[in-house]
Subunit: 213 residues, 2 copies
């Protein structure tokens, strides 16, 4: 157990954020707690404080696009333990979260004591491994070989951005983005940008089921 752990709590719901913060603050005295409500803020916070002991990450957050964001953060900061916090308890999502390098998975519906316990276990170095390794050639596995910059490019592709826009947002030339896209397509085993987006999107969390009248 770390003496005075530092947490980064990422959730766009102030309620959830505050609840987690106060729970962790009580359970881990002297803990340093940083908040974030967008993927960009998470990246900035990790840039300032790469030694963060645990990142509590909500999946349904602006810019995250489901598990794509997890993989992105993972490739940028391989050391920081990521604890995925989500309301989607579907087995597929949970399994994929682990495939992408998450250290633990917490259901938002869980009681706070359980959440605190899981966080403590992660601080102690425990990795909540998934029950079993998945069958060989999953998309997630192929995707896991992407470099940080390639993940960033893919994240923008998934949002529907064009190469020119991505180049501008990343501050590089369009030719560079194109080169990244080529490698991404090869690594994912698809033949077009559209197919890559389709597959990557299938990793995202299914949101907000439509209401029946």
């Amino acid at each position: 157990m770390v003496a005075a752990p530092s947490f980064l709590i990422a959730d766009d719901h102030p309620m959830v954020r505050d609840a987690l913060a106060s729970a962790l603050g009580q359970a881990f005295h002297g803990a340093e707690i940083v908040m974030a409500s967008t993927l960009a803020q998470v990246q900035a916070a990790l840039e300032r404080e790469p030694e963060t002991d645990a990142l509590l990450l909500d999946l349904d957050m602006p810019g995250m696009d489901g598990l794509t964001g997890v993989a992105l953060l993972r490739s940028e900061h391989p050391i920081v333990p990521i604890i995925v916090v989500s309301a989607a308890r579907e087995a597929a999502v949970v399994r994929r979260a682990y495939e992408f390098g998450a250290s633990a998975y917490i259901d938002k519906s869980a009681p706070l004591e359980e959440i605190v316990g899981t966080v403590g276990a992660v601080l102690d170095g425990e990795i909540f491994a998934p029950p079993e390794a998945e069958p060989a050639d999953s998309f997630a596995q192929r995707a896991a070989r992407l470099t940080p910059q390639q993940w960033r490019v893919l994240a923008f592709m998934v949002q529907g951005d064009q190469n020119k826009q991505i180049a501008h947002k990343l501050g590089v030339g369009e030719a560079t983005v194109k080169a990244h896209v080529t490698v991404i397509l090869r690594k994912l085993g698809v033949r077009s940008r559209t197919q890559a987006v389709i597959e990557a999107r299938s990793l995202a969390i299914p949101v907000a089921e439509p209401v029946r009248p």
Copy 2:
């Protein structure tokens, strides 16, 4: 404003529940706060305490089935003000919530001060009417104007097919497919094939139209 108001907080997430409870407890001193995590518990609590000043109701809760639960509670207890709390900020959901008799709608992403302010306003008897009936320009509505053949083309686009492949599968020329794509993009209000696919997939468009003989 009621001197010592009584609240019923209904949410299946302990975190959200506690956060709401502590926020309301601080803002309204002496408030009586009851919790519930299922629709059945909400009904039981209202049976015991029909004079509750405000019901904060989460939509994604066991037994709720979306907004039908709101209507049910409304018919059972026409007096109790219902404040719908949800993460789904879609205009259609909000509008329907008011149609079903909700007194206010709170987004889970809103800051706690705003939530407290809204609750206070409801206690004062205010009904938060929806800001305006929005012009209803949903993607689904735009998509509804597609012709049968355009739907087929879109279905193949969503699967990641290229124009040439689509042309072959439909038994028409590539120029024809391109023409259809152009119209589809315009009707959907997007600027690229990829964006169209992203939006279409978010609606879970039924694929696999039988190919014309």
